[in-house]
């Protein structure tokens, strides 16, 4: 169980982890579709680049973001002793 003195640092660390997870992802989410038309003139493995970024790359990045969040947050939990005993 978490030590009483670790609660505030733990919550601060958790909030920063939330920001570090969501902000870059949201920037990518908003910015990339705005340039999809311009990027479609180029191709990657035969697929128009804008389409490839908006579909394939977006989904891969989303999976990476959530997987890294789950692992990073678990590491934060263990660092501060806030992890579950299971």
């Amino acid at each position: 169980m978490i030590d009483w003195r670790e609660r505030k640092p733990y919550w601060r660390h958790t909030k920063w982890q939330m920001v570090a997870t969501l902000v870059p992802f949201l920037i990518l989410l908003i910015v990339v579709p705005l340039y999809a038309d311009v990027l479609n003139v180029r191709r990657v493995i035969g697929i128009p680049l804008g389409y490839f970024l908006c579909l394939h790359v977006f989904l891969i990045v989303a999976i990476f973001v959530i997987a890294s969040f789950v692992n990073r947050q678990d590491a934060v939990d263990h660092w501060h002793g806030a992890n579950e005993d299971l």
């Binding site: 958790t14 969501l22 992802f25 977006f58 789950v70």
Partner: protein, 611 residues
């Protein structure tokens, strides 16, 4: 319960059981294909592909029936992350994802990617901002969580009343989509098909609550996932001799782009805040597929994405499912699995639409009507595709080809010449996905009404048996109510968007503030909920009446921040939360330790025994 090891909580034979189910399903499909190859009665294929798996699902529901409150409301908190994620993914997508999204993509082009971004980002929002904290509190319903957090019965009842509306909309939309499909494919009267699509999840919810729904959702999720993956892969192999259509459909998209470049299209870019969804009737394929911001303006696109994400994250039937995981870490992991499965389904559906559109551009566009391939007649007979071109030597233009939004998902399978059994399999996958969504929403609705409205006002909590019986009865009532609402004429996509708008405006901001901000009070939460709900509902009604062109979910762009601001101001103007509430907030922010609700129940039981 909370201090047992995770590996002791989870049934070690789950993999075996679901492998058996998957093998049974694959065997049933192969049997259906064989009956077709042998030119036996067509209904036999339907019995094999649909009937056998449905019987297996009902048998699973019967085997997992329960009358214990902890199993009924929380599935014993022993469901592994993968199974929760699978049910959550398929439930989040529902028939909207499997049926409406391909049609919207075919008609709107890449603007329909806003739905992909909304679903995926919504699951990420839920994982990061909401679900782990709700799991630590361990409440069975969202209003119960608000009661634990703020100790206010008024807030509890008001939240329950507000939550009922989007849940009913989800039930109606999903049941309507699946019922219409079942009616057309199996030649059933519409009312009978609707009753079946609603009746099966209702029976499952009554028999075993969240426990039965979780395991049957996993089975239905396997059906939905395998059907869409298998049929799309077979169609891709037949068309391009290449597997993995998720990657190899790029050549079809490239050809579409090359052919679109030679076309002159009258419609230009949409205005920045324009939002024109594909509608229920047939729409003609005028727009260029890869041209962005032709249906949705460049400003409306990111706003719609964020609002859809907030709405998906706030939908109660998605959030409470994660309470069945063994712990907070598993609740986060289950969202990870949900994102993986949603991504796989959506990229496969996008590939199927890309391949079909490429086929349409190659085989129909530029040809005279008499030279159109035979599958065009099949698509016309099924009511999927229409050609508005005169018969004669004139070449067909893409703008003369019309597609029906809610049937377009079958287009590739029919065009590629797949057997009727495979088309049936794809449709059954969509119906299975709808039943997962309907079941989750039904159970959440029944549990919310029973726990928070019927028993929420009372001082003495009832016995577990009474709670379960009441929830079971209300699940049946919810099924009947869902039938009545689903029978009303409405566009299912607009119903889902309305549900998401209401959820994004009222539930999401109040939930997030209640977790992240310690100064939040019950009065602020109540005002936030009412403001968000009121503004969103007003926006939807005003848009429906034609007074303002503010298509769903754009009203939430105003309602969500307004709800947050009102919640903050109202919290500052009311007395701050008591010490007990702040202790709970501190406790729920830490994953370690016992689930708060379970600890409260255990202490209450010990007190009763001591007396």
């Amino acid at each position: 319960m909370a201090f047992m090891r995770r590996n002791r909580l989870v049934n070690p034979r789950l993999g075996t059981y679901f492998s058996i189910f998957t093998s049974l399903f694959v065997g049933a499909v192969m049997l259906g294909l064989m009956t077709q190859e042998l030119h036996l009665d067509r209904r036999l294929a339907a019995v094999c592909i649909v009937g056998i798996p449905l019987l297996a699902i009902l048998a699973l529901a019967f085997a997992t029936r329960t009358d214990m409150a902890f199993d009924y409301f929380a599935a014993g908190r022993r469901v592994p992350a993968f199974f929760v994620g699978l049910g959550s993914a398929i439930g989040t997508l529902g028939a909207t994802g499997f049926i409406v999204f391909p049609g919207a993509l075919m008609i709107m082009g890449v603007d329909a990617f806003v739905l992909i971004y909304g679903w995926i980002t919504g699951l990420i929002f839920a994982c990061v901002l909401i679900a782990p904290f709700l799991r630590k509190v361990g409440s069975f319903t969202l209003p119960s969580y608000f009661y634990e957090r703020f100790s206010s019965r008024t807030l509890r009842v008001a939240a329950a009343a507000i939550i009922v509306v989007p849940l009913l909309a989800v039930i109606a939309a999903e049941a309507r989509l699946a019922g219409r499909l079942a009616s057309q494919l199996f030649l059933l009267p519409p009312a009978v098909a609707l009753a079946l699509v609603l009746g099966i999840p209702t029976v499952i919810a009554v028999l075993g609550g969240l426990r039965a729904l979780t395991w049957t959702s996993a089975a239905q999720g396997i059906i939905a996932l395998l059907s869409v993956l298998f049929v799309t892969t077979v169609a891709a192999l037949m068309l391009s001799q290449l597997p993995l259509p998720q990657i190899t459909h790029g050549s079809a998209v490239r050809e579409i782009a090359q052919k679109d470049a030679l076309r002159v299209v009258q419609e230009g870019a949409a205005s920045p805040l324009a939002l024109q969804w594909a509608v229920l009737r047939e729409e003609f394929l005028g727009r260029k597929y890869l041209d962005a911001f032709t249906s949705i303006g460049w400003l409306a696109f990111p706003l719609t994405t964020l609002v859809l994400a907030a709405g998906v994250a706030g939908l109660p039937h998605g959030l409470m499912r994660h309470g069945s995981t063994p712990g907070v870490y598993d609740a986060r992991k289950s969202h990870g699995w949900a994102v993986v499965i949603v991504a796989l389904v959506l990229i496969t559906l996008a590939a199927s639409v890309g391949l079909w559109r490429g086929l349409v551009m190659t085989d129909i566009v530029g040809q005279p009507r008499a030279a159109a391939p035979a599958w065009v007649a099949s698509l016309r007979d099924l009511g999927i595709l229409y050609i508005r071109a005169p018969t004669g030597p004139a070449a067909i233009d893409l703008g003369q080809i019309g597609v029906v939004r809610d049937k377009a998902f079958l287009g590739l399978a029919v065009s590629a010449g797949l057997s009727t059994s495979l088309v049936l399999l794809l449709a059954f996958g969509a119906i299975a996905a709808a039943m997962v969504a309907v079941g989750a929403a039904l159970h959440t609705l029944a549990t919310t009404v029973s726990e928070d409205i019927v028993f929420g006002l009372g001082r003495t909590p009832p016995s577990d048996k009474v709670r379960v019986l009441t929830a079971q009865g209300l699940a049946g009532v919810a099924g009947i109510l869902g039938f009545v609402v689903a029978a009303l004429p409405a566009d299912p996509l607009q119903l889902i968007l309305a549900a998401v708008t209401l959820s994004a405006s009222s539930i999401f901001p109040v939930l997030v503030l209640s977790i992240l901000w310690r100064r939040m009070t019950w009065w602020g939460a109540l005002m936030g909920l009412l403001t968000g709900f009121g503004l969103a509902a007003a926006g939807l009604l005003v848009s429906k009446a034609g007074v303002l062109a503010l298509a769903a979910p754009l009203p939430a762009v105003i309602a969500l921040p307004a709800a947050a601001i009102v919640a903050i101001v109202a919290s500052y103007t009311s007395r701050s939360a008591g010490r007990g509430n702040l202790e709970l907030l501190r406790d729920m922010r830490v994953p370690g330790g016992e689930t708060i609700r379970d600890r409260t129940e255990r202490q209450a039981r010990q007190k009763d025994l001591a007396r």
